[in-house]
């Protein structure tokens, strides 16, 4: 992600947190606006279902609302949101039946698709990511959606760095294998 975008986002969050501390009721709405895409996308890439992802994302923001007093800085806010979004999505994944319904991916994603250079490949990859084991999925989503380094991922998931490294390598290997099979099948 572009560093200037991230910095601007952090500045806006800092401003919203400061206004929140002063009792500005609109500040929470600004925080939601600022981070909704991140939280929703983490949940969506885990769950592969827009309505379940929305439910999970709403819960994350409600939890944030209850825990606003514990948020120390904009960086902490982003860290907290990522961590809670991952946990909430993991909880939801564990409640789902083992095979996700095939039709869910057919729901239109106008914004994302408009930017994809190869929408079919992107869709296939998202499906492959969704089929990874839950813990590996978390690593892949945080690494490639949020573009975090491995140490940060380890901190969010509460795992040793080496575990994150090995899960990432194993997941990439699996994805490469699936992609090759998929490309072979499509050809």
């Amino acid at each position: 992600m572009d560093i200037s975008v991230t910095t601007a986002r952090l500045e806006r969050s800092e401003d919203a947190l400061a206004r929140l501390a002063l009792g500005d009721a609109t500040a929470f709405a600004d925080i939601v606006q600022e981070h909704q895409s991140m939280v929703f996308s983490i949940a969506y890439h885990f769950l592969h279902d827009r309505s379940l992802a929305e439910e999970a994302a709403q819960d994350v923001f409600l939890r944030l609302y209850r825990n606003l007093a514990s948020i120390k800085s904009p960086q902490h806010l982003v860290f907290w949101l990522r961590k809670v979004a991952c946990r909430r999505a993991l909880d939801e994944v564990r409640k789902l039946p083992k095979t996700p319904p095939a039709s869910l991916e057919d729901v239109a994603e106008p914004v994302a698709n408009a930017q994809d250079s190869d929408p079919l490949l992107s869709r296939g990859l998202r499906r492959m990511v969704a089929s990874l084991p839950e813990d590996s999925r978390a690593v892949i989503i945080l690494r490639y959606q949020e573009e975090l380094d491995l140490a940060e991922i380890a901190r969010i998931l509460g795992l040793p760095l080496n575990t994150v490294k090995s899960r990432l390598e194993r997941s990439l290997g699996l994805l490469r294998e699936k992609l090759n099979r998929w490309a072979g099948g499509a050809a």
Binding site: F28, F40, F61, Y65, R66, Q115, V129, R176
Partner: protein
């Protein structure tokens, strides 16, 4: 060095746009959450020391007034009962006196009284 698979993953896992009205729905849920329940509101209202003492004072005044009225009512009922008893006693005394007077008059008139 960039790996083509990683680039493809970045593209596939780009952040998505949230469903329309998402933030509105979140804020509506926070408003529900923030809306205090009746007892919470009452507690918050009574949490102010001056109001707490005023409420305690009001409760004491009401309790005192109820007790006072109860005592007054009991006294009124006791008084009523005593008045009924006095009237009854006077009626009995009056009957006895009338009977005695009639007997005295009979004696004065020289009527023999077998019972006397």
């Amino acid at each position: 060095m960039m790996n083509p698979l990683e680039d493809k993953l970045r593209e596939a896992l780009r952040r998505k746009a949230v469903p329309e009205g998402f933030s509105g729905r979140v804020l509506a849920r926070t408003r529900e959450l923030a809306e205090p329940k009746f007892w919470d509101r009452l507690n918050a209202f009574l949490a102010r020391p001056a109001l707490r003492w005023a409420a305690i004072g009001l409760c004491l005044v009401i309790a005192g007034s109820v007790a006072y009225r109860g005592r007054q009512e009991r006294q009124r009922r006791e008084g009523e009962m005593a008045r009924v008893q006095v009237r009854q006693a006077l009626r009995i005394a009056s009957l006895k006196l009338n009977e005695a007077r009639r007997k005295v008059q009979d004696i004065n008139r020289g009527t023999p009284q077998s019972r006397l």
